[in-house]
């Protein structure tokens, strides 16, 4: 399956791009499986903490073919 990964904040600077398309040899993937996979694929530290939104929702738990996954560094609003 193909998913679009979007980067934000510090992560966007680190990656040097806003987004990229990633191929995963699965038909779906759970959020808790996706996090370590993304850390490995994008050479992010094991200790790096980030949130994931799937199709603009933080509560969605599974990504499927064609979905957009937003990779969020720790929130710093206010």
């Amino acid at each position: 399956m193909l998913i679009k990964i979007k980067f934000f904040g510090e992560l966007k600077e680190k990656m040097g791009k806003r987004s990229e398309v990633m191929e995963i040899e699965r038909t779906s993937i759970k959020k808790e499986e996706l996090i370590p996979l993304l850390k490995k694929s994008f050479d992010l530290s094991e200790n790096e903490i980030f949130n994931i939104a799937i199709n603009n929702s933080l509560s969605k738990k599974e990504a499927k073919n064609g979905d957009t996954v937003s990779l969020h560094p720790l929130y710093r609003g206010g």
Binding site: F8, L58, H72, P73, R76, G77
Partner: protein
């Protein structure tokens, strides 16, 4: 309950916000306005740069605001994005409610949500040329 959310570069005027928040049943209107401060961590700030995942931010905020059903009548929220010089508005939260207690409390809860659970990031640029993601 009426909700207005604006994520953008130009906030509406205070008069426009008050006009939206006015409600016959309401006995209180509370408006919080965050601005870019001139000094942070003992360094002189030149500007703040805000980035927002707009679609996710709006979705999550709408979900969070569903908790206010009874005595909160209207909620206005502005979140800045882009480059903001010192003194500019970063965030505006307005609440109209039956009495002051609900307005204060809702405003504080929304602000805490937006500080910690809302996809916004800020980079501070200092007058000495340094900059950091906060």
């Amino acid at each position: 309950m009426d909700v207005q959310i604006i994520i953008g570069k130009i906030p509406p005027s205070l008069e426009e916000i008050k006009k939206f928040l006015k409600e016959k049943k309401a006995g209180a209107i509370f408006i919080f306005n965050g601005v870019v401060r001139a000094v942070n961590n003992n360094e002189e700030v030149e500007k703040l740069e805000y980035e927002v995942d707009k679609e996710t931010a709006e979705n999550e905020l709408k979900k969070f605001l569903k908790k206010y059903k009874k005595e909160v009548y209207k909620i206005f929220i502005y979140q800045a994005e882009g480059i903001l010089p010192v003194g500019e508005d970063t965030i505006i939260i307005g609440v109209s409610s039956k009495s002051r207690k609900e307005a204060f409390s809702a405003c504080e809860e929304i602000l805490e949500f937006m500080k910690h659970k809302f996809p916004v990031w800020k980079k501070e640029h200092y007058k000495n040329g340094k900059n950091y993601w906060l």
